[in-house]
């Protein structure tokens, strides 16, 4: 293994993603594997990639299909690649694609690989639907017994309620708390008002709409030109250009109808989509004539007690990643933060800007930093664009890298909150 001083610097050369489509809409007939393969085929062409140069692949996915549990390998078996590209799929919940980036980064940094394709994919139109535990048990037992009567007996033991399928819930297995309930709780603890949440959501839509219209988001999208989709799918369909404070204000709270403030309008929606990024060692990128969008400077992952403020991870991960990068928040030119809920983003910002929070949780006398809204989620975020779990981290990385290149800023920061109380943050650099 290489010592830290000789680690290779890792470049984000390019990336692209599918349009993000609300689950059950335009991409419903595409599996996560289809979506991921599509982005990689497009990435190959956009970068004129020599497919024989690719050493490894990593993809994030949260709800993988039992029929193709290792999505990444299905991608690396695209006919454009040689058959010998190892591939792993990873699950760090909503930060899965970030974890894929990390794995790719580490392999290149260590010198184990020069060129790695990473990304993430999720089709929430195609979540695996499970049989109830009782019915599954019965089926397993039936496959073991030989005689017809024994089988008939087992089949006879099945009750109608056993046949009700189980859909994976977006709830913490350890506490039973759903993400929405967690966001609701955080809004109350941190005093995030309904108005602030609505305003934040509106900003997300407006910025996403503007970035769609001025071509920034379409530039990162690889349109789906398939017959399986309903005609070509060119843009994200969750963005509401006509959204307004008035409209958002009419929406009822979803998770606490009496005292609640979190609505469907201030939550990210279930979405289908995939992202692929091309990582290379700095030297190989240079040798092959690529101009990278950005380089990876540092990253950090944290976890907290899920029974506490479940989605507060970024507030912990960000200072850690900044420390590892050796820079202050103020040096950062663009920030991308995954928007699971407006309440979650605003809670994290409150913590980051708070002296008391810094003192209590980080043992620091000064707050982590102060948000400059001009550089924060400049193209909107998951509330407008949607949240395909396994892919979101890739989109955040891609948008940040593109925006850094566009603005030519030295440092960029991204963060993602994830199930299980985890937080992820990464610092990118351009010089």
């Amino acid at each position: 293994m290489k010592s830290a001083s000789t680690l290779n610097r890792v470049a984000i050369v390019a990336g692209c993603r599918t349009p993000f489509s609300k689950a059950g809409t335009t991409l419903r007939k595409k599996s996560a594997v289809d979506l991921a393969r599509h982005t990689v085929v497009e990435l190959i062409h956009r970068t004129n990639l020599d497919c024989n140069s690719v050493n490894q692949m990593f993809f994030g996915q949260v709800l993988s299909s039992p029929l193709s549990p290792n999505l990444a390998r299905e991608v690396s078996l695209l006919p454009q690649f040689p058959k010998n590209v190892p591939a792993a799929s990873v699950n760090r919940a909503c930060a899965s694609a970030n974890q894929a980036v990390v794995l790719g980064h580490d392999q290149i940094a260590l010198g184990h690989a020069d060129v790695v394709v990473v990304g993430g994919a999720e089709s929430l139109s195609n979540v695996p639907i499970l049989h109830s535990e009782q019915f599954s048990q019965t089926l397993v037992q039936m496959s073991r017994v030989k005689s017809l009567t024994a089988r008939a007996k087992l089949l006879g033991s099945v009750q109608p309620k056993h046949l009700i399928p189980v859909t994976p819930a977006i709830a913490e297995p350890s506490t039973g708390e759903t993400m929405g309930q967690a966001a609701e709780k955080m809004a109350k603890i941190n005093g995030i008002s309904r108005e602030d949440q609505d305003r934040f959501a509106l900003r997300s839509h407006r910025r996403a709409n503007a970035a769609t219209r001025d071509g920034r988001l379409p530039a990162e999208i690889a349109p789906i030109l398939d017959v399986d989709a309903d005609g070509p799918v060119l843009t994200d369909n969750g963005v509401r250009p006509d959204n307004s404070i008035e409209k958002l204000a009419t929406l009822p709270p979803v998770f606490d109808d009496k005292h609640g403030s979190v609505t469907a309008g201030t939550s990210s929606q279930l979405t289908d989509g995939a992202v692929a990024l091309l990582l290379m060692s700095e030297t190989v990128a240079e040798a092959q004539g690529y101009v990278p969008l950005a380089f990876i400077r540092s990253y950090a992952v944290t976890a907290l007690d899920p029974g506490d403020q479940l989605l507060m991870g970024p507030a912990f991960a960000i200072p850690k990643a900044l420390d590892r990068a050796g820079i202050e928040w103020s040096a950062v030119g663009v920030v991308e933060m995954h928007e699971a809920f407006a309440a979650q983003v605003l809670s994290n910002i409150k913590a980051i800007e708070s002296t008391a929070w810094a003192d209590e949780h980080l043992g620091r006398s000064a707050p982590v930093g102060e948000v400059n809204w001009e550089t924060f989620n400049v193209a909107g975020g998951s509330i407008a664009l949607g949240h395909p779990f396994g892919a979101t981290g890739g989109r955040v990385t891609l948008t940040l890298a593109n925006e850094m290149a566009r603005r030519d800023v030295e440092f960029g920061l991204l963060s993602v909150c994830a199930q299980g109380g985890m937080g992820f943050a990464m610092v990118l650099e351009r010089r």
Partner: protein
């Protein structure tokens, strides 16, 4: 050195075939003799109780008889001796009194399959190269080493006739389903499985096989139906399928020996006949074309092609994309100016794949794999990594030039740029290019997925490597590629034009369209010229005639009636209306209103002989002149091009061979007569006149 080696171990004799100095095992006289001696030795060798017939060449079995051997047959008696000799050898398999196992890992074709049929037991591997096939009818002959007898007895009449009458190949799996092979195994255990079977056979065990021959009355119905199907498909131009039917039915009626006698009689008749001769020459020409790469100084295959881009996602571009992915398995980027066009193009390209999937020629996994090789866009993404660009934009010189100009800026230096055009000279397109040597023409014929021919057009500056590159890509697409000169119409359209023109003139004269068509289908064309006009598209024909008129003068003056139909939107089948009426894509009757637009008001009867002469000789005359100009590199390629590119009857050997067959003097006489009756367009071209004077022919005469 012999082709067979024999070793005996554990009571089993292994007959291992490895024809020296050849990549495949073909049966020749020497090999037959060797095998005969071997069989006799097995018969007498008491140590041997069973034998295994196997190839020592990897992924080979027996690829059939050496075609050259029977192509050289001069007389019927010679042919009869050859075939009786072969039959006796194969019969001996069954009479040595010891069981034989055929262990098949590779092509098992023709005489090879007939030998396997005479074995006691057949094992095939699931290797994709293992195919079983009786291709004889495609060469105008019939399986005559007992194939017409043993196959129906083993797998039933219907399945046997399907194999014998079409010459189609079966995979090992299909063969097992039909009972043609007894077992399928992985290649790695073929010998072990053969040994096991041989040992079991020594105990007297025999595989149980169902009785597949129906009672006579049911047989009669099957044969009657098959005969009808053959006639419907081939007219009465191809004697071989009917002879095969006869040999099969006679054998089932009167027994194996009588059947073999019939086989032999038919074979010896067919083998020296004109049809078989022409089909064999065609086979040789096709084989030769598969070995050459299209340019004199390039004998080795050009570098491999993995990434292709196609500009223009219309009818042709998308079809080329689909075929490229389906056959060559290359990555294809389809580019067009508008996204909607790209989407439509990608969809029709995918249809090519899905068609093959529906036909069972591609499983769902391959379909999925290949679908991901198709992508597209409106920008030039991916062009920086391609080995070949094919432009298939509209037939407009300026448009093509600007596309080539842009492509040159996008692609890597070693990329070849091909233009798919039917009427624009490649030199004109290359003229404005910065590197004209890498520009080549690839004239695909429509429908791309079905037409077996590709014309590769070399203009004066095209580099030989670009030509061989285009030829080898054509071959990867499963096309026969001929290299043609960059002159108007290239080869196929050049000789097609006067033919279609003459058909049009006949229409104008008031001759019934369906009569014109039927005269030509009786001659052996798959469709008649009037139908062909609609298939090609009247607008395309108009453009073609215009281009050739400009190049060659008044012989092909564009006809006003044609223009009127085009203006009326009657473009042919693709438009759903043309000379014929269409309903849901199916051709119906000739549209009487077309006569009005053409300007015909009186129906006229012309003798069918005259119709035939005018149509055929206009084409022959043009073909001769094109050969003289060097449009094709040999008469053989010219004939192949006419057969594969426009459906010239294969059994007639092609237009040039047909001229030889008729005789130059007679061709000249007919043309002179037609010239006097119908004008100068029938004036014999100079080269024919010269050939007549010198008593020359296009091919060497035997």
């Amino acid at each position: 050195m012999g082709a067979f080696s024999k070793r005996v171990s554990d009571r089993i004799a292994w007959l291992e075939l490895d024809v020296p100095g050849a990549s495949v095992n073909k049966i020749t006289k020497g090999i037959r003799e060797e095998l005969r001696e071997l069989l006799e030795s097995l018969c007498t060798d008491e140590e041997v109780q069973a034998a295994v017939l196997i190839s020592r060449k990897p992924e080979q079995f027996i690829a059939g008889a050496d075609v050259r051997e029977f192509a050289n047959l001069k007389t019927r008696t010679e042919a009869l001796t050859l075939v009786r000799d072969g039959q006796a050898l194969v019969n001996r398999f069954e009479t040595i009194g010891k069981p034989l196992v055929a262990a098949i890992n590779g092509p098992c074709i023709g005489g090879g399959l007939e030998a396997a049929l005479a074995c006691t037991y057949r094992i095939a591997t699931d290797h994709p190269k293992t195919i079983l096939r009786l291709p004889e009818v495609r060469l105008g002959i019939i399986p005559a080493a007992g194939g017409c007898q043993r196959l129906p007895r083993l797998i039933g009449i219907r399945s046997a006739l399907e194999m014998i009458l079409t010459g189609k190949a079966l995979s090992a799996r299909q063969a097992a389903q039909r009972g043609l092979v007894d077992e399928i195994v992985h290649p790695s255990i073929l010998s072990a499985a053969a040994l096991k079977a041989a040992l079991k056979l020594t105990t007297g065990w025999r595989p149980k096989r169902p009785h597949r021959i129906f009672a006579q009355i049911a047989r009669r119905a099957i044969f009657a139906k098959a005969r009808k199907a053959v006639l419907a498909k081939t007219g009465d131009h191809y004697p071989a399928p009917l002879a095969a039917l006869n040999a099969v039915s006679h054998g089932l009626q009167y027994g194996l020996d009588a059947g073999l006698e019939h086989e032999a009689a038919h074979f010896s008749e067919l083998a020296i006949g004109e049809v078989s001769r022409n089909l064999v020459q065609l086979f040789f020409a096709g084989t030769a074309l598969k070995k050459a790469y299209g340019s004199a100084d390039e004998t080795s295959p050009p570098r491999s092609i993995t990434n292709v881009a196609i500009v223009g996602s219309g009818f042709m571009g998308s079809a080329i994309a689909g075929v490229a992915v389906a056959h060559a398995g290359v990555d294809v980027r389809l580019r067009d100016k508008e996204l909607d066009r790209v989407v439509r193009g990608l969809n029709s390209a995918r249809e090519v794949l899905r068609d093959r999937h529906r036909n069972g020629r591609m499983d769902e996994f391959e379909l999925r794999r290949k679908e991901s090789l198709l992508s597209g866009g409106v920008d030039w993404a991916g062009f920086g990594r391609v080995d070949l660009v094919i432009e298939a934009v509209s037939e407009n010189l300026e448009v093509k030039r600007s596309v080539v100009d842009e492509v040159e800026r996008q692609v890597p230096p070693e990329c070849i740029i091909a233009s798919n055009t039917s009427t624009i000279p490649i030199s004109k397109i290359a003229e404005s290019a910065s590197e004209p040597h890498r520009i080549v023409g690839m004239h695909f014929l429509s429908p791309v997925a079905k037409m077996p021919l590709l014309e590769v057009v070399a203009h004066q500056q095209t580099a030989p490597s670009a030509v061989s590159f285009a030829v080898s890509f054509g071959r990867a697409l499963n096309k026969t590629a001929i290299v043609v000169k960059d002159s108007p119409g290239f080869w196929v359209n050049r000789i097609l034009a006067p033919y279609l023109y003459e058909a049009w003139v006949l229409l104008e004269e008031g001759v019934d369209a369906e009569t014109i068509d039927s005269v030509m289908t009786e001659f052996g064309f798959p469709v008649g010229p009037i139908t062909l006009l609609d298939e090609v598209g009247l607008d395309v024909v108009y453009e073609l005639l215009q281009a050739l008129h400009e190049a060659f003068g008044d012989r092909l003056k564009p006809r006003d009636g044609l223009d009127r139909l085009v203006i009326d939107g009657r473009l042919g089948r693709k438009a759903g209306r043309g000379l014929f009426q269409y309903r849901r894509g199916k051709k119906r009757r000739f549209d009487e209103r077309a006569y009005e637009l053409i300007g015909v008001n009186v129906a006229r009867q012309i003798a069918e002989g005259e119709i035939l002469a005018r149509l055929v000789y206009s084409m022959l005359n043009e073909a001769a002149s094109a050969v003289e100009e060097g449009v094709v590199r040999s008469s053989r390629e010219g004939d192949i091009g006419a057969i594969y590119g426009m459906g010239f009857p294969p059994f007639r050997g092609g237009p040039l061979r047909y001229i030889d067959h008729v005789g130059t003097a007679d061709v000249l006489a007919t043309l002179e007569k037609l010239k006097q009756q119908h004008g100068n367009r029938f004036a014999p071209v100079q080269v024919l006149v010269q050939m007549g004077e010198r008593n020359e022919s296009f091919y060497e005469q035997h």
